[in-house]
């Protein structure tokens, strides 16, 4: 991509964002929240694999919400399963993902 | 197991005890929702589906032996959630009327419930008789000032009260005895020792006074207003039957005097309770008020008008209007007497007696079973 093209593209995207201001803003807030929650969820996994109730206890977040984020991250290989503890699966970060 | 023979005609008869279209239990497909949703149901008494089922099949003996309809307070939860609109709560109501008629050996209850002409006619008849009695037998009419006790000598009225009370008690007790026979003799195989009756006797006045079971239902305000109504009613009954000379007097007591404030309390809660019942039935907002049988109207209307005329007598007396006082007094009694002699043993009022009786009988049965088991227990160990 030439510099000029890049510039054009930047202007185009800017205009587009202005057009969709409301949805973009809302989604950006959502994204920020998601990131914060996921940091909270992933932090305890550094000490080893965790179950949802364990994560819920540590983070104070509701179990269903944690499960959703774990499911989302698992779908794109950002979290993997690491066996089971009683009736619960254990989750951890895969090797190479911080 | 003894087979039970179905009687298809019983349901047709039962339907006569409900407002037209209100008893809709033929629509019931026995899903069990009503029983499971009922806050008052128990392992021993899973209702209302069981009574509905008996009604559907026409198993008359089993219905007569059951006290379950009396354990229901018509909170309407079952009707509200019934997937088929079968009106289970209203079926219980109708069944209570039918049972009242079955307990009553005179056959009057049945006439009252199934015929509006009979019910209204008898009330008018008794009321007219009372009025006629006054027309022919009243005391001297003092017109320059209010002298009610001269117009209607209190001791004569009091004797009348006693006669009325005894009559009413006689019918009520004999009917209650029949109820006992159905539920306690035919309805149970365990032999019931007298000790069981004695040990549970406390529950009878307790439940009569508190209607505690009703409070288990979610509709607490109904229970409270009904409780107030009962308290006013009982209070008034006690006053006029036992203490009429103290109550019906030409003396004007000061406001702090118990005669005044007891009277005021009773009349206010009676007016409020009866008025609320009438208003509820007009409004039809709550489940229990959606259908109103003639008998449902008759009792609160009589109660309301009796109270109202009572208050008017009081006011006219204070205002010093002799003729108005006397006439209103006659009207008051012409309403009061039929209410008591007809409604109490044969009509809607009787549930006030049958409900605590049913609870009492069931408690006795449980006690008897416990006693029986206690006897058996050491032997088997």
């Amino acid at each position: 991509m030439t510099k000029e093209d890049a510039k054009k593209r930047a202007i185009f995207l800017k205009n587009l964002r202005a057009q969709h201001e409301e949805t973009v803003e809302r989604t950006q807030t959502l994204l920020k929240e998601q990131k914060a929650i996921r940091r909270q969820i992933c932090q305890p996994m550094r000490d080893g694999p965790k179950t949802i109730p364990e994560l819920a206890q540590i983070t104070g977040l509701p179990g269903n919400e944690i499960l959703w984020h774990i499911t989302a991250m698992k779908k794109y290989d950002l979290i993997v399963e690491a066996g089971m503890c009683a009736e619960y699966y254990l989750y951890q970060r895969p090797e190479g993902v911080k | 197991m003894m087979a039970n023979r179905m009687d298809p005609n019983l349901l047709i008869d039962l339907k006569r005890y409900g407002e037209k279209g209100a008893v809709n239990i033929e629509a019931c497909f026995n899903c069990g929702n009503c029983t499971a949703v009922c806050p008052l149901t128990s392992d021993d008494h899973p209702f209302p589906r069981n009574t509905i089922r008996l009604m559907q099949l026409g198993l008359k003996d089993q219905i007569l032996q059951s006290s379950d309809p009396w354990l229901c307070y018509y909170c309407g939860e079952c009707t509200e959630t019934c997937p088929r609109g079968a009106e289970p709560a209203e079926a219980q109501m109708a069944l209570r009327r039918w049972l009242t008629a079955q307990y009553d050996w005179t056959g009057l209850a049945r006439k009252f419930y199934t015929s509006e002409v009979w019910e209204i006619g008898s009330i008018i008849l008794v009321g007219v008789l009372i009025a006629l009695a006054f027309i022919f037998f009243h005391g001297p009419i003092v017109t320059d000032q209010v002298e009610l006790n001269t117009f209607a000598p209190v001791d004569v009225i009091h004797i009348g009260d006693w006669i009325m009370a005894l009559l009413l008690l006689f019918f009520l007790l004999t009917n209650a005895l029949r109820m006992h026979n159905f539920i306690m003799r035919r309805g149970t195989k365990t032999k019931i020792p007298l000790a069981a009756y004695a040990s549970e006797l406390w529950s009878l006045p307790y439940h009569f006074a508190t209607q505690k079971r009703w409070a288990t239902c979610e509709e607490r305000p109904s229970w409270i207003s009904h409780l107030l109504l009962v308290s006013g009613y009982v209070l008034m009954l006690v006053i006029i039957v036992f203490f009429l000379p103290w109550f019906q007097t030409d003396n004007v007591y000061p406001l702090y005097h118990p005669q005044r404030w007891l009277g005021y309390y009773a009349t206010i809660v009676l007016l409020y309770g009866a008025g609320r019942a009438i208003w509820g039935r007009l409004e039809k907002a709550r489940q229990m008020h959606r259908f109103s049988h003639a008998s449902d109207w008759m009792f609160p209307i009589l109660l309301f008008t009796v109270t109202l005329t009572g208050i008017l007598v009081h006011i006219f007396r204070y205002a010093g209007l002799p003729m108005a006082t006397y006439v209103t007094y006659v009207v008051h009694l012409a309403l009061l007497v039929p209410m008591l002699v007809l409604e109490v043993p044969f009509g809607k009022w009787s549930h006030l007696a049958y409900r605590p009786l049913a609870i009492y009988f069931e408690a006795v049965k449980v006690k008897a079973r416990e006693m029986e088991q206690a006897e058996l227990a050491p032997a088997t160990v």
């Binding site: 995207l13 949802i52 944690i66 499911t71 | 497909f29 069990g32 997937p83």
Partner: protein, 448 residues
């Protein structure tokens, strides 16, 4: 690429199993068909299911060949992500105004490689997985989607441009606008499908607020090999459930919900799911609370008896209430009708509401096809003899747009709609289908 106006013999509305089958049966007879689907992929509700009764076939294995056949059929114009705004009559035929919603992806170029999806930073609840799992703001709808093309959700996009940068064939196009075009057709087949009876309407069942009370379509996703968790877990905390209960007629045969009819499929799908669950969770107890078990179809009764033999517990009694204990275990209150009418409260790890079917779409606004006031499904004036013929000449209806029915019945009825439509088209002048020359069989006058 702009969508050109089309002239076809039949417009099929809805790309679920009924619509697909009708389209195929018509196209195979030589008629031109336009199949319009509002979602980004065809497949309807069926493609989301795990396995199907009574054969327990893998559902995808039955649906995908039909989806692929539709996509590749030379007589079918497949139009996904399109909505029909209005239908006018036009000289005995119909003209449909169609809006093609922008995918923001150039459909012709997209290879379905999903690189954009991996690059996208936004995770959204995945409706295909009943919101249990996640999907990106740009994605291929699901693994077996047809067409296998990405679609961008502009409402939930921050326009970061990452997808655009990643796409190997430069097919992301933020400038796309809705496109209007028209389809001229001589006949219409409505296959608009069904929706689920609402569960939040029933306050006795928690009004949709209890986390471990789910509907049956959610369990389909839990059981599907491509499901969100990859296991059967309950939504509140990811526990593998030991005890699962089904509440039948949770949205049907109930006047308080305004749905008085039987939804026809719930008994069988509950039994099927119970069987699959006991396969996935061999130690779990599975209970089905029911009013009547309606396993009426071919092989269905045997299926039910097998489930009983497998140890699945069938309890006669309508669940009156579902509450929650401290561990978020849902608790049912029910009368055990077959066991002496006891009232019990039983806690389960998870409860499945066997919700029923309501019409998925009311076609009245744009088509003028009457619906039945009592159930909301399309009115069929002569359901016995002509089960797919509506009140409107030239418009036919099939599948669950007509009434609740299972997949087998939908497919058969779709064939019936195709036969009816084909005969209608042939009876009209000027249809594009050329009547083949009559065979050598002499025309015989009917005789006995």
């Amino acid at each position: 690429m702009t969508q050109e106006n089309l002239h076809v013999d039949t417009l099929v509305v809805g790309g679920g199993i009924a619509g697909m089958q009708s389209a195929l049966d018509l196209a195979d007879q030589g008629f031109r068909v336009a199949l319009v689907e509002k979602e980004a992929s065809i497949g309807g509700k069926m493609i989301a299911l795990s396995k199907v009764f009574p054969t327990l076939d893998c559902c995808s294995c039955i649906t995908t060949p039909k989806m692929s056949a539709v996509a590749h059929h030379e007589n079918i114009d497949l139009l996904t992500y399109c909505e029909i705004g209005a239908i006018h009559e036009n000289g005995g035929g119909f003209v449909a105004d169609v809006t093609k919603k922008p995918r923001y992806v150039n459909e012709a170029d997209c290879t379905g490689c999903r690189q954009c999806e991996y690059a996208c930073p936004i995770d959204l609840p995945n409706a295909f997985d009943m919101d249990l799992g996640a999907m990106r703001a740009i994605r291929v709808p699901f693994s077996t989607a047809v067409p296998q093309k990405a679609v961008l959700d502009i409402e939930n996009c921050i326009l970061c441009g990452k997808c655009e940068q990643t796409c190997p064939v430069n097919c992301i196009d933020f400038t796309q606008q809705p496109e209007q075009f028209q389809i001229e057709a001589d006949a219409i087949v409505l296959a608009t499908g069904f929706g689920l009876t609402p569960t939040d309407a029933k306050k006795e069942y928690g009004a949709g607020q209890l986390l471990n009370v789910v509907d049956a379509l959610t369990v389909e996703r839990l059981l599907a090999p491509t499901g969100p968790y990859g296991h059967v877990l309950r939504p509140s905390d990811g526990k593998e459930p030991d005890s699962i209960a089904y509440v039948q007629c949770a949205g049907s045969r109930d006047t308080t919900l305004g749905v008085e009819y039987c939804s026809r499929v719930c008994c069988m799908y509950a039994i099927k799911q119970a069987m699959l669950l006991s396969g996935a969770l061999p130690l779990a107890d599975i209970t089905i609370y029911y009013m009547d078990i309606r396993t009426f179809g071919k092989g269905y009764e045997q299926f039910y008896q097998n489930a009983r033999a497998m140890g699945i517990e069938f309890v006669k009694g309508k669940v009156a209430r579902i509450t929650e204990d401290d561990d978020k275990n849902p608790v049912v209150r029910v009368e055990l009708i077959d066991e002496g009418s006891q009232i019990v409260e039983r806690a389960h790890d998870m409860i499945v509401l066997s919700v029923g079917m309501v019409p998925g779409y009311n076609p009245q606004a744009i088509y003028g096809v009457p619906i039945d006031a009592s159930d909301g499904f399309i009115e069929i004036p002569s359901p016995n003899i002509a089960p797919t013929v509506t009140n409107h000449e030239g418009i036919f209806a099939t599948g669950t747009a007509v009434s609740p029915m299972d997949i087998v019945d939908s497919i058969v009825m779709a064939g019936a709609a195709a036969a009816e439509t084909a005969a209608y088209l042939q009876s009209r002048n000027g249809h594009s289908y050329k009547l083949p020359i009559s065979g050598s069989m002499e025309m015989e006058v009917a005789h006995v």
